[in-house]
Symmetry: C2
Subunit: 213 residues, 2 copies
Amino acid sequence: MARRYDRGVSARPEVTLAQRKRQLVADELSEAALQLLAQKGFDGVTIDEIAATAGVSKRTFFRYFASKEDVVVQFLADMGTGMRAELAGRPEGEPPSVALRHAVWVSMAVCADRSDHAARALSVVQLILRTPALRARFLERQAQWRDELAAELGTRLDLDPDTELYPRLAAGMALTAFDTVLHRWSDSDGTADPSDLTDRTFAVLGAALDAVG
Amino acid sequence: MARRYDRGVSARPEVTLAQRKRQLVADELSEAALQLLAQKGFDGVTIDEIAATAGVSKRTFFRYFASKEDVVVQFLADMGTGMRAELAGRPEGEPPSVALRHAVWVSMAVCADRSDHAARALSVVQLILRTPALRARFLERQAQWRDELAAELGTRLDLDPDTELYPRLAAGMALTAFDTVLHRWSDSDGTADPSDLTDRTFAVLGAALDAVG
DNA sequence: AGCGCCTTGACACTGAGTGCCAGTAGCGGC
DNA sequence: GCCGCTACTGGCACTCAGTGTCAAGGCGCT
């Protein structure tokens, strides 16, 4: 998809003008959408309104985002890719519980730093968690991450994810942890420490089902 | 799922004529929808078509089901209620892993019996799992079940689900198990034994994260 | 200037989902 | 019988999400 042209002559970045333009429109749309949706609720805003605010037509909106839900969920896409990348980068012999804990922790890192970006992440997460349509789409995205994590675990442990049960279950547990941490963080309005929550969650998971703690 | 009333006679004075009529329409709609959707795909059928097949108007369809997704997902609602009921009915001192395993097993029981009903369940599950919009809604429903299971676990273990992490995590693990079993069963076209799958899944979960196997 | 390539806006269209209203069938009470 | 009361229904009009199509315009290249 993102093909790089080394023709980047005078301009510093290796991207063409058209690509940067496209990114600009995408950012503008995302900005407008998140702002309006957080303010007026998911059903209180139309696509026409979002597009108009961003200065484009409704038709153009759908050239950048597949649906109204997509523009919101897309905002958190980094979490998934970051999670998988971190897992893939973990040392080979590391036990799954540790590797997965780091993977979850990294994807929560966006929420941890004290910046505008974190504040925006909080409002987006809260919007998602209290809007059924968005929560559904977000869960679907998580299911996708789970499959990717399972695949990664499969190669790490040399287990076939289609035959063995462990990779998918372990990935599912990690995602359960992630989801729980996200909920707690959201409910605390961002005051809870994601890092601490993650550690405590994996402390329970590591000890597993029968050891209540 | 379709509630069966003894279509016998003038017994059942508890239920008025109007109520049975209403149930009849709901069954007819559900029947028509499942039939058509499984045959032509989720996007290949319109609500008008479903309603016409059931002999009612489109407007009436939406008086029985909230959305096109709802008519499908509703069909599996029993699984959730059954799961919670089984957990609530388990002996008091039983360890969570055993109680949860039974809860999951009970909700899979519908798939286990060799009848028309099981065949229908299979086609519905397969339809859901390969239709993104349905999968999303189904996952949302599962999230709801997880909250209920967590609440039930909280009372069983005398832990506050809003403070302690364990109930929600354990419920999440059970749902992960459920989802995995359902996927495997669906992928095997119903040839795999749900009971066996459940046992093997919980064998892994009980041993927990770091014990590969 | 000329030719592609990509992006855009405008228009028309389908289909989901909702609000509203008039008609009607069942179930009382009188 | 007749009169409400309630619940269910179909039809209509409407909003809005999402898609196909087409003509037009900017930009790079020769």
